[in-house]
Structures are given as C-alpha cells and as structure tokens.
C-alpha cells in the first residue's frame, strides 16, 4: 500500500528544499536557562504555583513526613492505596498498602489513592514530573486512582522549565508525565473546571 511512500515524501522534501541557503541561522538562545531562586524561596514559589492550580500542598520534613502522610490519608478517607515498588516513604499501619506489580486498570480503579515520588519539579509553573523510575512507577498507577499524593524532595526542585528539561535529558527515553494540578478542562466556555478523567485531587508534600 505505501511502498515507496517514504521515498516519495523524502524526495518531495528534498525538492522543496532545493535552493535553500545553507545558513543554519542558529537558534537564538537568549531566553533564561537558569533561575535565581533557591532554598525556601524556591519551595515557596513551587507551593504558591501548585496551589494556584488547585493542588493541595503540605511542607514536611524527614521527621514529620510519616505523620503528615497519615494525616493526609485520614483526611481524604483513603483506606486502600497503591504504591510503586521502591517508594521509600513510611506508611501508616492504618492503611492497606498494595505494591503495584502490574495491576489491571480495573484493579487500579478500585483503590482510594496512589502515593508516588517525583523526578523533578518546576517552581515557575507549579509542575511535578514523574519518570517511571523506582518510587514513581508505571504511568497507569498515578492516573487511574482518583487521589494522587506526590512526595517531592527539595533537591529535585528547579525554578525554570529549561532547567527541568536539562535535568531530565538522561531520562529522555523513559516515559515522562508532567503534572500541573489536578485534571481540568477549559472546554466549556473556556472556564477552567477541575476534575475530569485524571485524579481529581492532587496533594503534594514538599520534603525538605
């Protein structure tokens, strides 16, 4: 059916580009590659931007993490949660925890929530990024349950988008999910409404 389509399309492109100058006109990289914020100011910016897009945010330390996780799950009323393998977070005994080992979508749909780590976070845009490595899991587990509790260590937080892209270069071939707030739509009169197909509640714990 498409025998020769590849060659034809390439030949059309080459014919179209015949006569183009070789001048590459290299990309003007005058935009900001790095941010100016650090420390608590950086985390404050991330928290502010997350809240702006209707995520819940808790600031925690290594000491308070276990208690905060327990409190968050209790407040949510989550009794059964799924977690990825390799998640190094102390979990309360009051909650039934299942480690994902390839659960079906229907099984994932039966959990009250999911807890994951994160590979990166962008303060400027209020974005957390999961790369599927240990502690973050398959894409499906942070998608199907209606509540996502994400624990973001301070050391993965950057200020600007290009910093996060650079940081993720080594992970480029992994499946990446960029998350900025709970699922939302602006399809009705361009008004933003939170909560469609993805988790309707996103809670972020900034650790550090």
């Amino acid at each position: 059916m498409t025998a020769g389509a590849r060659e034809d399309v390439l030949a059309r492109i080459r014919a179209a580009e015949r006569g183009d100058s070789d001048d590459a006109g290299t990309a003007a990289a005058g935009y900001r590659q790095g941010g100016e914020l650090s420390g608590s100011a950086l985390l404050d910016r991330l928290a502010e931007r997350l809240v702006d897009y209707r995520a819940k945010v808790r600031r925690v330390s290594a000491e308070t993490l276990a208690a905060e996780v327990e409190a968050a799950l209790a407040a949510r009323g989550a009794r059964r949660v799924v977690v990825p393998a390799g998640l190094e977070v102390p979990l309360p005994d009051s909650v039934a925890v299942t480690i994902d080992d390839g659960l079906s979508a229907a099984e994932l749909d039966s959990f009250d929530g999911v807890i994951t780590g994160a590979a990166a976070a962008i303060a400027d845009t209020g974005t957390i990024i999961l790369d599927g490595s240990a502690g973050q899991g398959r894409r499906a587990i942070s998608l199907v349950p209606d509540y996502h509790l994400c624990i973001v260590p301070a050391e993965v937080v950057v200020e600007l988008v290009p910093e996060a892209v650079a940081m993720l270069a080594a992970a480029a071939s992994r499946p990446l999910t960029w998350i900025s707030g709970p699922s939302a739509t602006s399809d009705i009169e361009l008004e933003r409404v939170e909560g469609v197909h993805g988790p309707r509640t996103l809670e972020v714990m900034l650790l550090g």
Binding site: A28, R139, L143, P175, S186
Partner: protein
C-alpha cells in the same frame, strides 16, 4: 505506487476536512446572522485573551522565547528530511514502527489496517487535528471500527454530529446550555437531572468515558512535538483523557504531520513554555505525556507512528509560505482575530480556522481550492503579535493573495489596470477618457456602482462621481491653453 513527478503534491479532494462547501464570504455572512454564535464566541475569546495576556506578562524573556521558537522551527523546516530520518531511527530503535503516508487516503488505510490487525472494533482517541484533517473517523467507520473521541470538546462535537470550530476548543461555538442539551439527548447513561454547571457537565463526561478507557485495546493520538534527537513524542492536554489513551491500551497509533518534528531535546525547554501560555493561558497545562517507542511493563507494548505529508511538502516548496508550517497549533491567533471572533471557525471550511488556517489550508489543498481564505482578514496584525513562534501571518496572507492572482490568470482587475495604464500614458487618450467618463455622472449621483464587470469593485467602495468639468477643461477656459 506513483512515481515522484516533481510537482507540489496537495492534499487530495474527496477525503478529510480541509475544504469548505462554500467560499468564506458566503459562509461568513450566514454565521454573522447567528447572534447566539457571536455571543458564545465573544465571551470565550475575551476570557482566553485576558488569561493569555496575564501569563505571558509574567515572563521577562517572552520575546526571547518567541525568537528561539521561530529559529528552531525554521531550522527544522530547512532540514526536514534529516530530522525525520533521525526521528524514524530513534523510534525504531526503541521498538516503535514508523509508517509514511503521502496523503490522507494512505494514512487512513494504514491506521485502519493496524486497528483491524490488532483485532479491535473500537478505538479511543485523543484530540488530534491531524486525524480530523484526514477524516480518520469516517475511514474507520467504513472499516467497521467505532472511534470514540475522549477530549470533552471533541466529545461534544461528536455527540452533536457537529464539526470542530476552534483549534484548542473544538466546541467553542457551544455554550453550557447547548452542551447540556446534547448530553441529555445523546448519552444513554446520563443522569436526567443533569444541570448546565460546567463541573456537572465534566462529571457526566467522566462517567460516560470511564468504562471505555478501562477496556480500550487501541488508542489513537496526534502529537504536539516529536524530538528527532531522542525519538520522544509529546502530547499536551488537560483532562487526563490523553494519558488514558496513551497509557492504558495495548496498542497506540500516533498520526503526526511531518512538520511536528523538532531537532533536540533541549528545544522542549522553549516549546513547553510557549505552547501552554499561548493556548490555554496557563503557566502549564495539567498533563503532558512524553514517550519514546515502547517501554517494557509500562503503557502500550505496540506503538505505531504514522508520518503524514498530505500537502505539507507543497507548502514547504514555497520559501515564503512554508512559514505556516512553523505553527504549533496554540490558537492564540484565533482568539485575537476580529474576523474569527465574529464569524467563528466553521466559516473557514477547514479543521484549521482563523488566521493560521487562512494561510495553511490553501497551501495544503492548493490555493484554487481555498481561494477565498487569504482574503478572510483585515490584515490588522493582531495574529502576528500573538503568535508564539512569530509567524508573520499578515505578510503570508498578502503573499498568498498575490499567488492566487498569478495562478488565476488575467482578472478583470488586472485587465482594467492594464487599460488604465495605456490610457494614462498619453495626454490625448487621458483627456478623451475623462470626457467619456462624464456619461457615468447620473449613475454616481444615484449612489449606484460601476456597471459590470466592474461592479465588484464598487460593491464595497464608492466610485467618485466624474466632475462636470475636468481640471484641464477649467484651465483651458481660464488660460486659453492646455496645461
């Protein structure tokens, strides 16, 4: 197999949605009489304009980002063959299968046969302009496959047996009350007490599609960016329907216009800022999925990428017009356009409406098939200012108008101008013509226009009434000689 003949290959007729059934002026006139449509559009576009302005204003380096976006796209178009081959190699190395399609018919046939080979009779779809462009849903239906649109706006369009009218929000022409009506009429599982609260409507869509997502075996998507360097594909979305379609099925088929390729991974640092702020007016869209071929144990284990030409190489062959291929489909130009705001998207007759559609559609189809679109603009320039990759849409419109005139052969206007040039190059001929023009004085007085075939010129312009006595006659009477 057809041999490459060296002529621009346009998108074929009879398939897909790039051509309207009537010229823009006729369709626009009818749209202008629809007061509800104008209210819906006015409300939506003013909302999004304010949001976009606020988030663009936050970035001190917005202009530098625009310049970078433009330079990256220009480089991608200049070396398109090299980047596509690089992309193909990277996707293949990671377990994906790459297909090439010269046009809509080939792409539709490829996708249909892939779905059939997967043994599926249903597919879930992420909003994709490329698949709307080629009429994929119609082709799948002809092959016995039901395609379910999962983006809320696309769902509204599909359930309403309607056509998309905006790049970002295909159902922008519908207000909440109309959407409620459509859901009550078309969703078998809907709560009859459904209100027109947007949150309730979104909840209804969630319930309606949940089972489809959890059981679908084949997903179909488009793509926002494809990174040649790494083979990574990106889809930006808001609702999570994209993640569902890209993650849960066993087979994923992605249809990509060849102009979507970007050279390097680092380029995402530019476009992941330009696109969300320009399209939904958010600092970042809620969800972006990036995947590279197949990942064992995570997501679809069969991945097909269909690279689509369908007139893009014809646009590439115009060194000026190819700038339209830089478009990242944000829809900012629609939202600021005074023409779009009044006529809506349907009047443009193509899945690519508004200013960018007016320069893109005619190049994909050949100008004669969309001849009225380059004129569907007042050339005010708002689209150029809003474009995140600085596409100079007004100058492209003028360029395409010139091409249209050249490709149409001699027009009445051109013949008239040639005649005027001949007359004015001789004082004797000019004097005679001025006296002859006097016979039209009665017509001018009555407010009528010029007689055919010049009537088109005066339909929207006043023809000056020829004076009773010309300047040259006045001078001769006063001074007794001709100046």
């Amino acid at each position: 197999m057809t041999a490459f003949l060296g002529m621009p290959a346009h998108a074929p007729r009879g398939v897909g949605h790039l051509r309207g059934e009537e010229p823009f002026p006729a369709a626009a006139r009818r749209a202008l009489n629809d007061a509800q449509l104008r209210r819906n559009l006015g409300k939506a576009t003013s909302t999004i304009r304010a949001k976009r302005a606020a988030v663009v204003g936050e970035l001190p380096d917005w202009e530098e980002l625009r310049a970078a976006g433009r330079a990256i796209k220009a480089d991608a178009m200049r070396n398109l063959d090299r980047y596509l081959l690089q992309l193909e190699a990277a996707v293949t190395e990671r377990g994906g299968i790459v297909h090439w399609a010269r046009d809509a018919n080939e792409a539709n046939a490829i996708v249909t046969s892939l779905v059939q080979a997967a043994g599926a009779t249903e597919v879930v779809k992420v909003k994709s302009l490329a698949t709307d462009e080629i009429g994929l849903n119609d082709a799948l239906a002809a092959g016995g496959i039901a395609a379910y649109e999962t983006d809320l706006a696309e769902l509204i369009v599909q359930l309403g047996h309607d056509r998309p009218s905006h790049i970002l929000v295909p159902a922008i022409h519908r207000n909440r009350a109309e959407i409620r009506e459509i859901f009550l009429r078309e969703m078998s599982d809907v709560d009859p007490g459904l209100t027109d609260d947007p949150a309730a409507l979104a909840e209804a869509a969630r319930r309606h599609l949940r089972r489809k997502f959890l059981s679908a075996t084949v997903g179909i998507s488009g793509v926002n960016f494809a990174v040649a360097e790494t083979g990574t594909l990106c889809v930006l979305e808001s609702e999570g329907n994209g993640r569902m379609c890209l993650t849960l099925p066993q087979t994923l088929i992605t249809v990509m216009g060849i102009e979507k390729v970007i050279p390097t991974w680092a380029d995402l640092g530019v476009f992941m800022q330009l696109l969300p702020r320009s399209s939904t007016g958010e600092r970042m869209n809620p969800y972006t999925s990036m995947w590279t071929g197949v990942t064992a144990g995570d997501g679809p284990q069969a991945f097909h990428l269909v690279l689509l030409d369908n007139g893009r190489t014809a646009a590439l062959a115009d060194p000026v017009g190819r700038e339209a291929l830089h478009c990242i489909r944000c829809s900012a130009c629609l939202n600021v356009c005074p023409v779009y705001e009044r006529t809506g998207g349907h009047a443009y007759g193509s899945v690519y409406p508004g200013p960018i559609g007016a320069v893109l559609s005619p190049q994909l189809t050949g100008i004669q098939d969309n001849a009225s679109l380059p004129y569907a603009s007042s050339l005010c320039g708002a689209c150029y200012d809003a474009c995140p990759v600085k596409i100079n849409i007004p100058s492209l419109l003028v360029h395409l108008r010139a091409r249209h005139v050249e490709e149409s052969g001699a027009s009445v206007e051109a013949l008239t101008m040639a005649a005027a040039s001949w007359v004015m190059s001789s004082p004797r001929r000019f004097g005679r013509a001025q006296r002859a023009g006097r016979i039209y004085r009665p017509l001018g007085r009555r407010g009528g226009g010029l007689p055919p075939p010049l009537a088109a010129w005066t339909r929207s312009r006043d023809a000056p009434v020829p004076p009773a006595r010309t300047f040259r006659e006045w001078w001769r009477d006063e001074h007794g000689e001709t100046p």
